[in-house]
Symmetry: C2
Subunit: 448 residues, 2 copies
């Protein structure tokens, strides 16, 4: 085993051991540690900005050589306001309700035999995230708050910033009583490969980043993965859509933040309303800088009205354009739209624009996505906007956590059965004692 691998195994073992202690740490201790960390981030502002400056110099050099996109470099930058926002975000997580220890089911199986299903942390979470300095503190504070140890691996362009932020967080949190080792920073791609093999130690992997990267993770580990590999989000403009809503929502969903996973990637327009709806929507999109790629019917209508567009091909319907490109297709009514979305979409977020409530209900019931929306922008699909406080990501899994995932997605459950000597033999066969399945005292402290 290489020296690096030894070091990694040591970090994993420390984090795993710490997770058992962290799982039992009181909310008050976790919250006051997070609030101290929030203050420490402000106190160490100059240190963080210095580290970030080093990352920015290296990133700009890479950008000069055409190796890094400008958008990525901009996202990397830390300034006074960003540091304040990060500090605020960490204290916001302290303010959220503790997701651990909730009783989600309970039943009195018999006198002196009480069952509780309780939320518990996963244990050890590995997160791999993009190069932006606010990712590490957001993920770290959500994991800590939910009682999980976390191994953090950030984008290499943010190496210096991540080290500086990690140092501040790690020192403060363990100083304030959290178990040593609960937060670990790792670097380098090889580390990720090794971590994915540790399915006996790691309880959950949360990858964020490019689609290819998330798909690579999903295909290369037996550890449960929480994430989504692409955001092929649709808006379907129904024949009974309100025109001004449709225009406003389509432009917002495509233009407001084109690279977001929840931005509209494909627009479907109902044939029966296309004459009325397509031109104003397309005009507004083009004015917003959008390059339209149309199906043959869209092309005919747009050409007739001298609106610029390129012809779409089959591959467009499953492409996630992260810039201002938009394939548009005319479909034969709502069922055709639903079929298209379930076939080509990525089950992330899809929206219908219509004044026809029956059509909205049909769309909501039949589109098999983590969020379905009526008369609003797909861009609302986000943990903060959904009131979850913050999010670790958006899940398109159907298992466990689906859609924007906040604290509640970072805990699992455990059954706790409190008996007084019962054996199953008494409850089976002839003369079996019946189970009561009645109400139980949910104040566990009185029971144990």
């Amino acid at each position: 085993m290489s020296k690096n691998n030894c070091l990694l195994r040591e970090k994993v073992a420390l984090a795993k051991a710490a997770s058992l202690k962290l799982a039992q740490t009181a909310s008050s201790i976790k919250n006051s540690a997070l609030r101290s960390a929030s203050e420490a981030i402000l106190k160490h502002k100059e240190e963080l900005l210095d580290a970030n400056r080093n990352d920015m110099v290296a990133a700009k050099a890479q950008m000069g050589q055409g190796k890094l996109a400008e958008a990525l470099v901009n996202r990397l930058k830390l300034d006074d306001i960003k540091v304040m926002e990060i500090s605020k975000m960490v204290s916001n997580v302290a303010d959220l309700e503790d997701p651990v220890g909730r009783i989600v089911y309970s039943t009195k199986m018999d006198e002196g035999l009480d069952l509780y299903k309780i939320t518990v942390p996963f244990g050890l979470i590995v997160t791999v995230f993009e190069a932006r300095p606010d990712a590490l503190p957001q993920i770290a504070s959500l994991c800590i708050k939910s009682g999980n140890s976390v191994i953090l691996k950030g984008g290499s362009e943010a190496t210096e910033s991540n080290r500086a932020i990690f140092r501040v967080l790690e020192e403060t949190l363990t100083d304030k009583g959290l178990p040593k080792g609960c937060l670990q920073l790792v670097e380098g791609r090889e580390a990720v490969g090794s971590l994915l093999k540790m399915d006996n130690m790691v309880d959950l992997v949360i990858p964020r980043g490019s689609n290819e990267f998330v798909k690579f993770i999903q295909d290369n580990t037996r550890i449960p993965v929480l994430g989504h590999s692409s955001g092929i989000c649709h808006i379907f403009v129904d024949r009974n859509a309100d025109l001004s809503k449709a225009v406003c929502i389509c432009t917002d969903a495509r233009v407001q933040y084109p690279a977001a996973c929840n931005s509209m990637k494909i627009l479907l327009v109902d044939a029966a309303g296309a004459e009325r709806l397509l031109l104003p929507i397309a005009t507004n999109l083009v004015e917003g800088g959008v390059r339209i790629r149309g199906c043959s019917r869209v092309m005919t209508m747009l050409k007739r009205n001298k609106i610029a567009a390129e012809p779409a091909d089959e591959s467009d319907w499953s492409t996630e354009y992260l810039e201002l490109t938009l394939p548009i297709k005319i479909v034969e009514g709502i069922d055709d739209a639903i079929e298209h979305i379930n076939r080509y979409g990525s089950r992330h977020t899809d929206s219908i624009i219509t004044e026809d409530k029956e059509a909205a209900r049909r769309f909501i019931s039949n589109v098999d996505s983590s969020t379905v929306i009526h008369n609003a922008s797909t861009r609302f699909s986000d943990g903060y906007r959904y009131g979850l406080g913050a999010e670790v990501g958006i899940s398109t899994n159907k298992v466990h956590a689906r859609g924007p995932v906040g604290l509640e997605g970072l805990v699992t459950t455990k059954y706790v059965l409190l008996g007084s000597g019962q054996k199953v033999g008494d409850y089976v066969g002839k003369n079996a004692k019946p189970f009561l399945h009645g109400k139980v005292d949910t104040d566990l402290s009185r029971r144990l």
Copy 2:
């Protein structure tokens, strides 16, 4: 593509299409269809018994050739009482609360922008189960009640029985208004291999059967798998255990149904209490027919008292003995026990016997298993006993469903956002509108 594979794809496509309709079928229709199916099972009793007789003849021939164990043949047998029990079980599922359409989270994001997180069926479930005639109707009725289409593949020894039961269920359920195709029967191992590759069609796989088989499924599909691959369940007898409880619970947990996944497979005894506790427990176990395999300290104590035992080796601690064999180890107190269980166990069900509440709390917090028990038998870990009505299996996954899984594990959630034309642009940047995140009308029928 072979003809068989074409047929299989057709069944899968039919089931998938039916799942969209079934997801929207009212509880009352599902329940009355299930109650009719329950009656039809009684009405077709002779037909079912005839089919089962054919299976029994073939199975007994196999048993004669040493190819099939007697226990499996006994499990296969259907009689008047079993048919009544099956009929009752199906109507019991009709009586359970519908898990679909529950609002598990909701928030008013803004005036006219309401968010709901709603339970929805998975869609299409594939189940592969052991050769016992009550498995098919149990699994089928749970899937139907939770709004899922299901593809059923049973053990080959029950082929005729399964065909007969399937015919009765399928005919009755679709006659009573459930969508055609929602229930499909498949046969043969090759079908399973093909189904595991259809991750774009199948939403969940539930395997039941041998550990090797479940592990094979987990390792060979990208579809989420709900199940557990082994039940290495421990009982830890603490120094402060009540002797009579310990004796009674240990014997029940090992002897009452040795082949069950939730039976005790390994016994750990606290060194500080071993003199008082081990001999009476071991004596009772041996009287129950148990062959003890002891660590060196156990061997010394048992030999001294002329209790028969074989020496255990390292492999015993991770072996799931499904007959009356029991490895016993003396451990140095509770922390040693917890470490042993987390290291060698399968995170299924583990129990502590003690009168010391502090020790019980420590065990419950630190043992990382789907069920942890205080002063009762591991054999209680079961969906029916837990009051879930019935179970599709026991999950040792931490993701989504953990422990005995009833209806609630057969649904996932979907976010539904009802807007009135909102764009995200108004809620970001300078002059951003704030989100309200207030209370919302949870009567969706008033809202849409």
